[in-house]
Amino acid sequence: MKRIAWAVLAAAVVLGTSGTAKAQNFFRQMRVDSFVGSGIDLYHHGDYNGALDKFEAALRLSPDDLQVRYNRALDLYALGRFQDAARDFKACLVQQPDFVPALFNLGVTDIALNDYGGAKTIFDQILSDHPTSMRAHFDLGLSQYLSGHADQAEKDFAVATLLHPQYVQAHYDRALALYKTGNLVGADNELGLALKLNSSFAKAYFLRGAIRLRQGDNTEARGQFESAAKTAADPVLKSLCAQIIAQIGV
């Protein structure tokens, strides 16, 4: 009888302990979720420092939580702390090597860190598995352009425009890359497509002005720079347009 009583007591202790552990886990996860929820809300409202506090608190409770680390990496990027963001994205990839969003974002962070070689490797890696990834083509184009390979960049932007013809930024970037390689006619055609999609695209008018100027059509160039000045929201671009118009003096 005594033995049975001891066995029942031991079982009760074991069950009670495991129940307590489960309850503790449950409540800890609830707190993690709460921190993450607040963090994401703050992130989307632009309070990146507030969001960081929440993600840090969540990571203290659950240091191996991949999603929390990923969210902290995004937040660090938004705060301009690119080295720290890259470290977190890499940690995510160590934990889960096929976590593609972290891989992609590491490539974007490499661009911010001027590590164009690293970025190109990542986007090439994504494209080797998914050759129709529009964003990988576009970002590979950015890496190529920023590392001084306008000719290579033009090819990647061309693919991006073929995959997503409504992507006005890709048309503009392709035009810029063509301009840099000296293909003024090609650049002009691409700008035509960009302006068809967005008729108030100041940068496109500006680049067209530069093309017209190089083609010797000062009157048309002036008109394009005037359109750029009219549509530009950026005061620096407006000011540069005004200075160029004054210099052309048609």
Binding site: V108, R135, F206, L240, Q247
Partner: protein
């Protein structure tokens, strides 16, 4: 040297000079009208500097703007699967994220629908007795 011979020489020299000048003018004129590159007045260095400054600055390369990163994942936001889809997509997919809802009320109506009628309905405005008069 006889007089008439000297005249012939002078006339020939003048004619050669005039003809040369005319031909030179014609050839440069044809270049100007035929090739726009010749018609162009080369933009001044100042203008080219301003253009280069703009193209490496405010008129420079375009990125995805606020969508350059694949955004947060987790319950209530984008799932890791849809985030991966966003990377692989052959078109631009952005802004699919929903607001975080960690503790959704299981009895709450789904977004965009009206709640089903229950046993309790909130009191409406007080009704006037005695008809419409």
């Amino acid at each position: 040297m006889p007089m008439h011979f000297r005249r012939i020489l002078t006339t020939a020299a003048v004619s050669t000079a005039v003809l040369g000048g005319v031909l030179f003018n014609l050839s440069s004129g044809s270049n100007k009208s035929g090739d726009p590159a010749f018609a162009a007045t080369t933009p001044s260095k100042n203008v080219l500097d301003l253009i280069d400054r703009a193209l490496s600055g405010p008129a420079g390369i375009e990125d995805e703007g606020s969508y350059n990163l694949i955004d947060p994942i987790g319950p209530g936001a984008s799932t890791s699967v849809s985030a991966a889809d966003e990377v692989y997509a052959s078109t631009l997919i952005v802004g699919k994220y929903t607001p975080w809802q960690a503790y959704r009320d299981p009895f709450a109506a789904a977004p965009g629908t009206t709640p089903p009628p229950g046993p309790y309905t909130p009191p409406g405005p007080p009704r006037r007795r005695g008809g419409s008069k």
